[in-house]
Every structure is written in structure tokens, then in C-alpha cells.
Subunit: 218 residues, 2 copies
Amino acid sequence: MSTRIQRRNRGLILEAALDVFSSRGFRGATLDEIARAAGLSKPNLLYYFDSKEAIHRALLDDLLETWLEPLRTIDPQGDPQAEIMAYMRRKLQMARDFPRESRLFANEILQGAPRLGDFIAGELRTLVEDRCQLIARWVAQGRLAPIDPLHLVLSIWSLTQHYADFDAQIRLIRGGTDPMAGADSFLDTLYTRLLSPPAAVGGDPAAPPSSCAKYSGG
Amino acid sequence: MSTRIQRRNRGLILEAALDVFSSRGFRGATLDEIARAAGLSKPNLLYYFDSKEAIHRALLDDLLETWLEPLRTIDPQGDPQAEIMAYMRRKLQMARDFPRESRLFANEILQGAPRLGDFIAGELRTLVEDRCQLIARWVAQGRLAPIDPLHLVLSIWSLTQHYADFDAQIRLIRGGTDPMAGADSFLDTLYTRLLSPPAAVGGDPAAPPSSCAKYSGG
DNA sequence: GTCTATAGTCTGATAGAC
DNA sequence: GTCTATCAGACTATAGAC
């Protein structure tokens, strides 16, 4: 059983650690800096967590469910285009609400996914494959414009997380203005134009993507 | 004047350092690992470069021109859609040819651009603003579908660099297959649908983006 | 130019008093 | 539970022989 002060201090540590790990990477982060940010002493950090590694792992574990959930929420019974647009908007909202978590994740991937390999090759891969099959069915039914399902999913990750991961760059380029100003309507426009099934008359100028067949089973 | 062996060793060091810095970040990299990868002793590294920081800076300096050039190459006299598609393809080719450079850059931005702030707020920002004005003119002339120029540029950076920066994740999700397989035709499709000016009849279903006015001057 | 040896610093983790 | 003090290892960088 954990006391009130224990939960409070664990929370302080994780909050501080998220700041430091997300902006410096695992090796760039130091316990000294985390301790200072948490307002605790370094030995006290190690009273609550066994090691620097354990703090980092706790952050990742907290993150993984959050990371899968927006993709899980896609409803096979819903309207295809509306479902994918809603998924994109959830991911964009996550970039707004949890930019540090996005950068923590990006740091891990950039360094070869040393601690996330199992998660990605397991739960995430399974879920992505399932969703790609769903999208391929929607395309086959003519309810979405022809598109490669996997690259579509990757594009949503890329375009939404970019606003969190490259926040520093966008701020410097935009000067004072909000880095995400205009992102919502831009992405709405982009995915509307990308996904709208070609109207009965007036064909789509783009060639259909070569490989949807891969996911057409199931 | 530098001898043949000096040029060779500097090259070996920079090549090894690019491997290590791009996959571990600045603080995660160690001179021991770079020395081992270069086949030289650690003091010998520091005979050629003043410090770890100096090696890193040399890599970034080499990178910056390469980073600007594809954006510079956009031709104001060319066909708008073709120019932007060609720019996207150049960036995608860079992700294929120079994935380590892309990850080196991403590492720096993720950590708040501590060494790239001046470059981004200066040369890059100036060039981006110039290109956004050009794109805004093209939109105003009806030669491109209505779109926010800055977010268009950001989307190209995001979607192309993603294949280099998140390579580890994509590999794990795709299993054995080439991480970039299908990327070319996907991005061709995406930007064709995004940028094609609406045909005379059969309007675009997307609302025009709110703010192109910002770049309409010039 | 390249090496061995090492100085000096930082960092993760532990010991032990309170 | 929290602290001061400190250890052991890893790290960047330098000294000095060859």
C-alpha cells in the first residue's frame, strides 16, 4: 500500500523525468537534472525508482496504451472517410496535448527502438496490420479513393507528430506565432482531398497506388 | 596544406562519427565508439579535431548546404505543381540517400535545436518565407489548389524525413520488406490530389485554408 | 602522426546517520 | 523517508614517449 506522499513524489519524479528525457534523450538526461526539476534529492529519486532505467521505463509503459488507443478507436462500422479523418484529428490533438510524450517516443525510435522493439514488432504491428486490412476493404468497396493503407497510416503519424517533434524548428521559422496555428485546417484539407472517392464523372488525376492487394485478405 | 593521409583520416572520422551521432545523439555518443568505428585511437581523433563538439559541428556544417539546396532549386518560372512534386521527390531521395544525416538533424531539433538555432532562424527561415510567398502567388493565380504554403512545406519535410527518422519503427512494423517500398507512388498520389487545381466543373470538397494572405505580398 | 598512460570531471548508485 | 557523503565507473581531454 502506498501513502499519499509516495504517490505525490512518484508523480513529481515522473513529471520531471518526462521533461528531461523528452528533451535530452535517455543518455543525455541526468539524475541530477531530474532531481532538481522534481525538487527532490538524487538519492530520494532512487528510493522511489530502482534506477535511471526504471524511471524511463515507467514513462514508456505509461505511454504505450495512450499510443495505441486512437488507432484502436477506428470503427469498422463507421463511415470510412469520417473514421480516418477522426483518427487524424485525435492524433493531432495528442501532438497538442502530449508533445513531450511524442518526443520521448521519437527519441526512442531515432535511436533504433532499443526499448520499444517488442512493443512495436508485437502489439503495434498487429494492430496496424488489422487496421490496414480494414482500410483496404474500404478502398475495395470504393468508399475511399485508392490508396496504400500502410503509407496512409504512416502519413498520419508523420504529419501529426511532426508538430510536436519538430516544434523547436517550427517555432524558429514562424517567429512568435503558435507553431500549430493552421495545422487543423491544413490536415483536414489534405486528407479530404486525398481520401474522397472520385466522383461519378471527372476522374481522379492520380494513378491508383500499386499495392493494396497485400492487405485485401481478411 | 593537408596530406593525403590527413584527408583520409578526417574522412574516416567523420564517416564513423555520423554513424554514432545519428543513432545515439550528441551526449549518447562517445569518443571511444567513434574511434573504434573509425579504426583509430581516441587520442588520434583529438589530433584531427579539437573536441567531441568540433567533430559534431563539422558534421552539421557539412549538412547545412545539402539541407537548403532542394528548396533553393524550386524554379519560380516552372510549372507550379511540377516544381512542388519535384521538390518532394528530391527530399524523398535525400531520405533514401542520406538517412543518417536526416537523423542527425532530427536529433538536434528534438533536443531544442541547441546548435542549429541560428541556421534555422536565419538562412532557413528566410528561404522558407521566400518560397512560401512564391507558392502563395501560384495559389492566387489558380495554378495550385488553395493551400497554406507553410504547412505544405512542413508536410513535405515531415512525410519524406519520416522514412529516414522512423526507419527503425517502419522496419519492425513491415517485417522484412523495404521500409520505403511504395513511398514514391504514395507521395506522388498524395501531392497530386492535394495540389491539382479544381477542374472547371466539380468543385473541391475541402474548404479553402484560412490564411494564405500572410504570404501574398512580394 | 600515433600511441600508452593518466589527469580531471561527471554520473549512477550506495552507505549510513537522522 | 530524506538527507550528506562518497564510491566506482565512464567519459573527455591532455601529457609525453616514440
